[in-house]
Structures are given as C-alpha cells and as structure tokens.
C-alpha cells in the first residue's frame, strides 16, 4: 500500500503529530515500505479464524465498589506543565 501525501497528512492529524512539509515524502515512503511488509499477512487464509485479543483468552476480573483513593492533587499536579487553582490549563477550547 503506497501512501500519498494526503493520507500522511490525515494520519498525522488523527495522531496529533505534526509533520513538517519537508518530511512528508520521507514518511510516505517509510510507512509505505512498512505496510508492504506487513501485507505479507495476506499470504495466510484467516477466514473462519476468530481474532485473538488477549493471550490465553482470559476473562475480566472485577473489583468491589469501594473508594480506596484519597485527594493527592498537589502531589499529582507537581509534575504538570501548567496549573492554576487546582485546574490543568490548556490553550482555549472552542466547542
């Protein structure tokens, strides 16, 4: 699968990774090479095979509904890039 510039732009936006114009061709060629490589999978017929998402097909373990956490805001926000009055600050969100 050869990816064109438009697709690279779309993926970069979905993934929220800025790609400089000068790098687009490089990304297109590298990602296309990787996709060609993984497409070898098509050599194997997988019709009627159930997908496997978790090793050993385990099932979910659940916990009881109890509050086990207490307020650690100051501690947790000590590593934040920007906070004020206990809030994380980000560039203005326009809905």
């Amino acid at each position: 699968m050869a990816l064109d510039k438009q697709t690279i732009y779309k993926i970069s936006r979905l993934a929220r990774i800025h790609v400089d114009k000068v790098d687009i061709d490089r990304y297109a060629s590298q990602l296309s090479t990787i996709l060609d490589f993984v497409e070898q999978m098509n050599r194997i017929d997988t019709d009627n095979v159930a997908p496997l998402s978790h090793p050993q097909d385990r099932v979910l373990r659940m916990r009881e509904d109890s509050v086990t956490e207490h307020d650690r805001r100051d501690d947790l926000q000590s590593v934040a890039p920007m906070t004020e009055n206990g809030l994380y600050l980000v560039p203005k969100v326009i809905e």
Binding site: I11, R16, M41, P51, L60, R61, K92
Partner: protein, 453 residues
C-alpha cells in the same frame, strides 16, 4: 569507571536513594527480617515508574517526569530490601532492538563498544554484562529482554503474560508487554522472579495462578525431556556462526538425556508482520496520553490547542516512535481495520495454535534467540524492516503470551549468542531448570568482557 560511563547504560543514578536502601538493607540483615535478595544491587529499566525518581522511558516527552507513585514490580523489589543502583537506558518507549532510539543516546555493547547491546532493555543488559549490578529488570514486548540478553551474553527471562504485574510499567503494547529479568545466570533469574512474580489486583491482566518457588526445581533431572526444534527457527535467515553455537548447545542438553524432535510452527514466519500491526496499533492508543497537559514535555511554541498537541508530540517523540504511532493509527482507521488489525489478530490465533499443537509433541521448544550476533551501531538505523527482522525468533512468544528464556550459548568470534527456550504457560520453573542444568555444564554465562572483570 570511564569504561562504565562510556556504555551509557544508565539514564539516572540516584546515589542518595541507593545509599538509603543499602542502609535499610543492612538493618534488615542485622535485625532479622531479611529476605533472600536483601541488599542485592539491582538496576531497573527506565520504563518502571519510581516514586520521586526520574522515569523517562527513553523519551524526550518524559524527560522531566518524576512519577508520584511506584510500579508494583518496584514496590516488590523495595520490600525485598534490594538496593536500586539506577534507571537503565532503553529504546524510546521500548520501541527498538538496538537501544539506538533512546533520546539519551545509544547504549554500547560491553563486548564491543562499536556494537549495539540489543534492545529495548539494552541498558539493563549492558549493566549486568559489565557487572555494574547483580541483576536488572526489563520488559519484553517482542524480544526486548531475550534479544539484548543474547547479544550481551547474559540470561534473560520473559515470564508468561500476566505473571508479573504491568502496573506502573509504561505501556507500549498492552497485550504483549511483560516485565522480566536480566541476570548473570538462570539461578539468579529464578531468585529474582520469586520477588517480582505474583498476582496484582491493580492489573486486570494479572493472573491469580499460585507462584511456586522458582529456585526449588533448578537441579531437577532433564532426562527424557522432549525438546522441539522448529524448522522455521533454523532457516536461511539464521547466520551459520550462530547456528553452530545453537547445535552445540543442544548437544549439551542431549548429553543430559534430552531428546530432540523436529517440529513445525507454520505460521510463525509471519509473526513479524503480525506484530508490526498489533504492537503499533496498541501503541498508537497507549501513547495518546502524552499530550502535554498533565505531565511531561509541552512544546513552548504553539498557536492553539490542536497545534499544542501536534507540536508537543512531534517534538517529544523520536522518529521510530512517530513511525509506529502513525502505522498503528492507520491500521485502526476506518476502512483499514479489517485488512490490518483484524487480520493480524486472526493470524495471532493461528500462531498461538501452532504452539499449542507443538506442545502436544514436546515439553519445550528450543532455537536461537536472534539470527545473528550483535551488529554495529548505525548499521540498521536507516532500514526499519531489517531492524524488525532481528526479533523474528522472539516475537511469536509475545503474540502467544508464553514464557521464554535466553541463556548464553557460546561465542561467535568475540560476540555472544543466545539459546532460546520456550515453554507452555507458567512453565518458568521448567525453563529455569533446563537453563540451570545447561549452565552447570557450560562456562559461557561466567565470561565477562575485557575491562569489566
């Protein structure tokens, strides 16, 4: 010490922490209450969150991240009274097989400083090899413990998926990641696994299976052990020098009464393509939390919210990480999900079936850990695919969640190679037993590179 520093094995050393832990260990030893590994120096891969100690995962985006909590594995080592020497260098977010993708620079192989130590747990492997510490922790998503252990001539164990808690281990590919150990011997690996294995209620994929004493069966007889040799692991991709070493190693096991049989893992040759869909897909989602909002690096120059995200992530992640996030994003996106992600998940079941069938015929599977010995730094950085193929013998194990051990099998010239032993779920005791019997008769694991004795 210069030689040690030149390896670039550590991202962070914290002498104060080490000293405090050493004193605490002394007290435990004096006052009773000590445990088997109390006072033993250990290095931790910089993927495990350590409260109050920088945890970077080899990335610029976490280059300032000091976690407010400890990973479960770290807690267990602290409780044992082990002494932390530092946090080891690694491929960025564990994405790499050479330790060249680290934001903090490549790690050098102690056997040849122009060569890679393997990856992604390259710093852990190099530090154990250079005897900077008795043991190190690592993580293995596609071979990241076994491959560097093999290339550095030490012992590396990747336990069964779910055996060691993933809580506090920065996630790369959640359904494949598994914490484990890099040590000087199978015996050491057993002792350290005793410390880190076990159920953790904080990890929904952690298993409640009882934990045996992994040291108790090390000396068991292996007479009559059936060892399966997959023909796919001895194909044209395997370098002749490594093949010779592996065949010799297998003869040692035969001398102990093990029986070799040929087996077939027909789908395993496609494990690398399968892996390079599943791992990037999961990674693309796991790494979305690095957005510059709650922790980590944030770009200083942006126009608006979306631009802040895009620049933070473009500046914070290295090339290989960005490539994988983009591949994963594409593989999961509308219109491509079935062809890539779903296809890979189906193939994953077939690969797992192969192992199930194989274990009806044999007790363990053996083969090389890597196709070649350590390559030169820079040799494969411009060709991602050739880099990926380094893990061709290790990846299937992760896709199936099986345990596997790599032990030093000998030297091709001056460079070590590893023998890989793969077992059924929760067969760690058996694998360590075989590894130990092998090490009772071989000297490879005792060899120390020049200048580090």
């Amino acid at each position: 010490m210069e030689r040690h520093r030149a390896l670039n094995a550590f991202i962070t050393v914290d002498p104060e922490l080490s000293l405090n832990q050493a004193r605490a260990a002394d007290r435990m030893l004096k006052n009773g209450g000590s445990r088997p590994l109390t006072g033993i120096p250990i290095a931790h891969k910089d993927i495990f969150c350590t409260k109050g100690v920088l945890t970077t995962c080899g990335s610029k985006i976490l280059s300032n991240f000091v976690p407010p909590y400890d990973a479960t594995l770290i807690k267990r080592c602290y409780e044992e009274g082990m002494v932390t020497l530092g946090k080891t260098n690694m491929d960025e977010f564990a994405m790499g097989s050479s330790n060249e993708t680290s934001y903090f620079g490549p790690v050098r192989n102690p056997w040849d400083q122009f060569r890679v130590p393997g990856g992604s747990s390259g710093g852990s492997a190099a530090s154990v090899t250079a005897r900077l510490c008795a043991a190190a922790t690592g993580t293995d998503t596609g071979g990241s413990i076994r491959q560097p252990a093999a290339l550095c001539g030490i012992t590396g164990l990747k336990p069964t998926y779910g055996r060691v808690s993933r809580y506090g281990m920065v996630a790369f590919a959640s359904s494949l990641d598994q914490g484990g150990v890099l040590t000087q011997s199978a015996e050491d690996a057993a002792l350290l696994l005793n410390v880190i294995a076990g159920f953790d209620p904080l990890d929904s994929t952690s298993v409640e299976e009882p934990v045996p004493d992994y040291g108790s069966k090390l000396k068991d007889d292996i007479d009559g052990l059936k060892i399966g040799l997959p023909k796919q692991y001895f194909d044209e991709g395997l370098s002749p020098e490594v093949e010779v070493l592996i065949r010799d190693a297998l003869r040692v096991l035969e001398d102990h009464g093990a029986v070799l049989i040929d087996i077939d893992l027909p789908n395993s040759e496609l494990c690398v393509p399968c892996y390079y869909v599943i791992a990037p897909s999961e990674a693309s989602s796991n790494l979305s939390r690095f957005d510059g909002v709650r922790y980590g690096y944030r770009s200083e120059d942006y126009e608006d919210l979306v631009d802040m995200y895009m620049r933070t992530r473009a500046e914070g992640f290295g090339d290989e990480v960005k490539r994988r996030i983009m591949i994963g994003t594409y593989a999961l996106s509308a219109g491509y999900y079935d062809a890539y992600y779903l296809k890979a998940q189906k193939l994953r079941r077939l690969i797992t079936h192969d192992f199930e069938r194989a274990f009806e015929l044999c007790d363990v599977i053996a083969g090389p850990t890597t196709p070649t010995a350590a390559f030169e730094i820079g040799a494969k950085t411009s060709d991602p695919i050739s880099m990926y193929l380094n893990d061709i013998y290790t990846i299937s194990v992760n896709l199936s969640g099986l345990p596997a051990l790599s032990v030093p099998a000998g030297f091709a010239g001056d460079l070590p190679a590893g023998l890989q032993l793969i077992g059924p779920y929760f067969s760690e005791s058996r694998l360590l037993n075989i590894g130990h019997r092998f090490q009772m008769d071989t000297e490879w694991h005792r060899r120390i590179p020049g200048g580090f004795e």
